[in-house]
């Protein structure tokens, strides 16, 4: 660890505090503005709101259709993460544990997905979803998120499974347990840390994703939060107090989750992207 004297440390604190102020100010600004009237936003930009009423919040919540948006985001994110974890851990298990022809090829075939930016294939994805009647549906979104999440999840989970000694399964097999029982009762619990990392990385990514909902969803009532806010921003620009309230409400849940689970978030997101 670098040792610093009192002078150096003071400078370091000063730099870090300026950095923190830069991070917090925009959040503080939308939060303050969300309680102000439009007049106040223009006339008294620096002063705290004169009153704390939730008028803007109630209006924005209704007009931005946030009940639906939160519901849709929750359904899509949870279902997609569950889907990714299920099919990827199964595939990872097969590749890690079973010996079969083309095993190595199958692994490389899936890992190749790490190198394919899914957004670039959006035109065919759009056409396929249209053909199977999944365009403009939550199931369509979930299908795409699960499919594009497989490569990364399988890569991480397979590597984790490789480190579990096969002997652990032996006694269960002697007792006549089926491969499915062995997988769910013995291996899955052992790779839980990896499942948590994969789960969080994907959840945050899907919860925050804007691109796929923008293309796939086009009827009101099915939009996720980023899309709902984007539509609201377009329709109500100039109503900055309402937009501030809508933005505050949409960033708050993920912020709170982050502060509670920050350790997992940080490990998951940094390790996930690099390794």
């Amino acid at each position: 660890m670098l040792r610093t004297g009192i002078v150096a440390r003071t400078i370091i604190y000063a730099i870090l505090i300026v950095y923190m102020i830069l991070i917090i100010t925009p959040f503080l600004m939308i939060f303050m503005n969300s309680f102000k009237s439009l007049r106040e936003i223009f006339l008294r930009p620096f002063s705290p709101p004169s009153r704390f009423t939730f008028e803007n919040y109630i209006k924005a919540w209704k007009k931005a259709n946030l009940t639906n948006a939160f519901l849709n985001s929750a359904i899509v994110s949870f279902a997609s993460v569950a889907g990714i974890l299920l099919v990827s851990s199964m595939l990872a298990y097969a590749i890690s544990r079973y010996e079969f022809p083309l095993r190595r090829f199958l692994y490389i075939y899936v890992i190749a997905g790490l190198a394919l930016p899914a957004r670039l294939a959006i035109i065919p994805i759009y056409v396929i979803l249209q053909k199977i009647n999944l365009l403009d549906t939550r199931l369509g979104l979930i299908t795409i998120y699960v499919s594009t999440g497989i490569a990364f999840a399988t890569f991480l989970l397979k590597n984790f499974m490789d480190d579990i000694p096969v002997e652990i399964e032996e006694s269960a097999r002697m007792d006549g347990a089926t491969p499915w029982t062995i997988f769910t009762k013995i291996d899955l619990p052992l790779i839980r840390p990896a499942l948590v990392v994969v789960g969080i990385v994907n959840f945050v990514g899907i919860w925050n994703d804007f691109f796929f909902p923008l293309i796939i969803i086009n009827s009101r009532g099915k939009e996720t939060i980023p899309l709902a806010i984007s539509i609201f921003f377009g329709e109500y620009s100039n109503q900055w107090q309402l937009i501030s309230a809508a933005l505050s409400m949409s960033v708050l849940p993920i912020m709170i989750t982050f502060f509670i689970l920050s350790r997992y978030f940080i490990v998951g997101m940094t390790q996930g992207a690099i390794k």
């Binding site: 730099i15 010996e99 997905g113 930016p117 294939a121 925050n208």
Partner: protein, 300 residues
């Protein structure tokens, strides 16, 4: 490793392989095929050979394509310098003997968990020329001359977008560098102190050389991510990537071409697919190299 009946292997691998093949691999192949056709999305596809590529590279869309491509490359260079440079420096500060590291790290990472498009809208308000906080602050400290239409001036808009991007992502690079720095054996730093090295010398000759692999990995990732830029431009300037296309990137150009939006000269899936193929050709060697590197590191 065990030999089992093939049906278990199939049971475990089929769902993922099917989804992956239909919705990831097949769309990529299909993109290549579509790029040789004209197709507005309905009706018959018309085979046009390499015409789409000629249109994009040298024909009527050449100027627009080069403009967007230039912005992606500029974005990659600027963001690499700012995010990796500042990220490394702040990580060094956060690995000294100061207090409150965890709080600083958590706050630094905070903007990363917010949807990019929401970050864009928040900054859209911060940068509002009339009442946005940035210009208000500049005016109130007597620097009113510096209050600019940050997103409305073609010579400023793209750099402003880059800075907002740095605001959003810097914490990620800080944390990755911290992880890399704390992996350096403490003995190395202690030995340097015994030899009478200053902190600056330790950073320059011990810490920096040992984090070079992290710089390399992050550069590769930044290259790939730089060609994916879309949300932030969409939120700050819309799909038209105004003012006057001064913030246009391949992502917004691709979106306009494939899915329309006012002012796009031609809406065509074939032309859009051709743009996707060109982006793909630029990015894929780098991302394959990345996949190769992480797979090799894992095996060590």
């Amino acid at each position: 490793m065990q030999k089992v009946k093939i049906r278990y292997m199939l049971l475990f691998s089929t769902p993922a392989i099917l989804l992956y093949t239909i919705f990831v691999i097949y769309p990529f192949i299909y993109s290549f095929i579509l790029s040789f056709y004209n197709w507005p999305g309905v009706g018959p596809k018309i085979f046009v050979g390499l015409k789409n590529f000629r249109d994009i590279l040298t024909g009527p869309f050449g100027a627009e394509f080069r403009n967007a491509l230039f912005h992606n490359i500029y974005f990659f260079i600027m963001v690499s310098i700012l995010e990796l440079g500042l990220g490394f420096l702040i990580a060094v500060l956060l690995t000294t003997n100061i207090k409150g590291k965890r709080l600083f790290q958590t706050l630094a990472y905070l903007p990363n968990v917010i949807s990019m498009v929401l970050v864009g809208f928040i900054w859209n308000m911060m940068l509002n020329p009339q009442w946005g906080l940035i210009n208000q602050i500049l005016k109130s400290v007597g620097l009113g001359a510096l209050a600019k239409p940050w997103l409305g001036d073609p010579s400023l808009a793209f750099n402003t977008i880059i800075l907002v991007n740095v605001w959003r992502h810097l914490g990620f690079y800080v944390l990755v560098f911290i992880a890399s720095i704390i992996n350096i054996p403490p003995d190395l730093i202690d030995a340097a102190y015994i030899d009478g090295a200053s902190n600056f010398q330790i950073v320059r000759y011990v810490i920096f050389p040992l984090t070079v692999p992290t710089f390399q990995t992050l550069l590769i990732l930044l290259f790939i991510w730089s060609f994916n830029v879309f949300d932030i431009v969409y939120a700050l300037e819309g799909v038209q990537a105004g003012p006057f296309r001064s913030t246009d990137v391949l992502g917004t150009l691709f979106y306009r071409t494939a899915f329309g939006g006012l002012g796009s000269s031609r809406m065509d899936f074939g032309l859009g697919a051709a743009i996707a193929v060109l982006i793909f050709v630029m990015v894929i060697p780098v991302s394959m190299f990345y996949a190769y590197v992480i797979e090799k590191r894992r095996r060590k």
